[in-house]
Symmetry: C2
């Protein structure tokens, strides 16, 4: 059965399962169900930021460091999931893939998968979560979830991670891009990549100012100091490998922090609850928009547009359909 070969470390089976998950195949969902109890061990690291911040190079460098850690540390098996909510097809992501393949090729300890937006973002987040669970069960100990920052989407996907790295690059645009998405609220670690570019200092300062404000707020809401983690702001030059060791060390500290504060289990449950409820929302609405009640749904929506019936009543009519 697919599940056993995956647990035994068969890469081809894992790749097949993930394709099945993306297509929503029954067999894949059954295998995932069997694998699910074996998941929950991996350190899930979300890496997000605006296009052009150099996320992919950073992720590749991180992966390499987890594979070849500093003296005295264990090498980790690394999964990489590259999610691009912006592209309906995985073209862009696949390109990134080919680059990665060259850089990390032939390492059985690295598994890379690209995903593109199919249907709703909620759906993408859910599918991503399933792919992550599959890699997790397959024994990959660190899973890097890379997403292009485009607002709500990467917050959804950041919710999948234990540790969220937000990548900035010099330039006001990126600062705002990051700000816009409310992404600072989900950041555990901030990275100013391309730190050799002019404006890096400015970006670094703005991020620290944002954090000062955010954390003065937190204090006023009385969160105990020993339970609070202030995101460090780390400068990197990914394509030169500069600063990656600092990021690597910060991720280790953050992992220790969340394990010592019940944050690990809290985030895991929170993640699963969000996934559960999002799936529920998406599936239910999907059933109505595309399923048996399709006609009824669209007719009711049109009647709402014509103000013949109120949205509340329209929803009630839909709900009575199936009870």
């Amino acid at each position: 059965m697919l599940c056993e070969t995956i647990l035994s470390g068969n890469r081809l089976s894992l790749a097949k399962l993930i394709t099945g998950i993306e297509n929503g195949d029954e067999e894949a969902l059954a295998a995932l169900d069997a694998l699910f109890p074996h998941s929950g061990r991996a350190h899930l690291i979300g890496v997000t930021g605006a296009p052009g911040t150099g996320k992919s190079s950073l992720v590749n460098q991180l992966a390499r460091l987890y594979r070849h850690p500093p003296q005295g540390q264990l090498a980790r098996r690394v999964g990489i999931v590259a999610v691009d909510p912006t592209s309906p097809f995985s073209g862009g992501a696949l390109l990134g893939d080919r680059v990665r393949m060259r850089e990390l090729s032939g390492d059985a300890g690295v598994f890379i998968r690209s995903m593109a937006s199919r249907g709703t973002l909620g759906g993408l987040a859910a599918t991503t979560s399933q792919v992550v669970a599959a890699m997790d069960a397959a024994g990959f100990e660190v899973i890097l979830i890379e997403t292009v920052g485009v607002g709500q989407s990467e917050i959804d996907i950041a919710n999948l991670a234990h540790s969220v790295v937000v990548v900035e690059a010099p330039g006001l645009g990126d600062d705002i891009q990051a700000g816009k998405a409310g992404i600072l609220e989900v950041a555990d670690i901030l990275v100013v990549n391309k730190a050799d570019l002019s404006g890096a200092e400015h970006t670094h300062r703005i991020l620290e100012q944002m954090l000062d404000i955010a954390y003065s707020r937190d204090d006023s809401s009385g969160s105990p100091a020993q339970n609070s983690w202030r995101p460090p702001v780390i400068k990197t030059i990914a394509n030169q490998g500069t600063g990656i060791d600092d990021l690597f060390a910060s991720l280790a500290s953050h992992l220790t922090f969340i394990k010592n504060n019940d944050e690990w289990i809290k985030r895991s449950h929170q993640r699963l609850e969000i996934e559960f409820e999002n799936l529920l929302r998406e599936r239910v609405v999907y059933n109505w928009v595309n399923g048996a009640a399709k006609e009824k749904y669209h007719n009711l929506k049109q009647r709402v547009f014509n103000r013949e019936i109120s949205p509340v009543r329209a929803v009630e009519e839909l709900l009575t359909l199936e009870s």
Copy 2:
């Protein structure tokens, strides 16, 4: 019947209906259903911003100006809905209410209602939309929807409006607050209130810079110039009544703009669709979390937490429940 007395302009009936809507009474929903065809005429104006930006004073000043417009313009009947997603009770909002009552008291052309968060934000947005529809049907020609800026919430509520006014006040914190919420993406008009405070120029400049970036992006995505509205940034000192006439004029221009670009109907439909689908999502999940399937829902969630069953399978088990 409640509906007729409301159409005839009975304030007490309207107040009663709104309370019924907030409580989800059957009678209220029936009345709302009957009123709904009479809605869709009012100019819905969302006013949002971080706490302390002076939204309430601004809204009061705007209301007064709509009641007593410049020479040669018609006075409008004004509804005010103050939404506070942050407070579980309407305490804060009610306080604002009492202040308003003094300022706008005895004017039958003004109807004020405060709402606080009950249950989910989606739920709050939906209820707010219903209250707005009721005021709209009751013949209030301009409806000011005031919300405290706290991220996603005011975006949900901004989606209810034809024209969205984002209020800033001097200070980096507020700039970020605005940025964080992705609120600039929904702003039709930006206001720098408390323009007499130091830092107002800085805030004004940052907002213009943000707009420069946002609109250079838009152009690259090839939106025709005559269809594009660049939000003006207006300085006001609400508690002195300064700049309100500029805001008033901008709102008139924006109303003309959306009516000339099919934006009016587009936004109305978009609003109704969002309301429809949010109601659907909320109601369905609510039914599971609190309804007959309550036990089953929570058991399944716990089994997901224990990794005995995958979220996908858990949702399937829920869905098979009722089919």
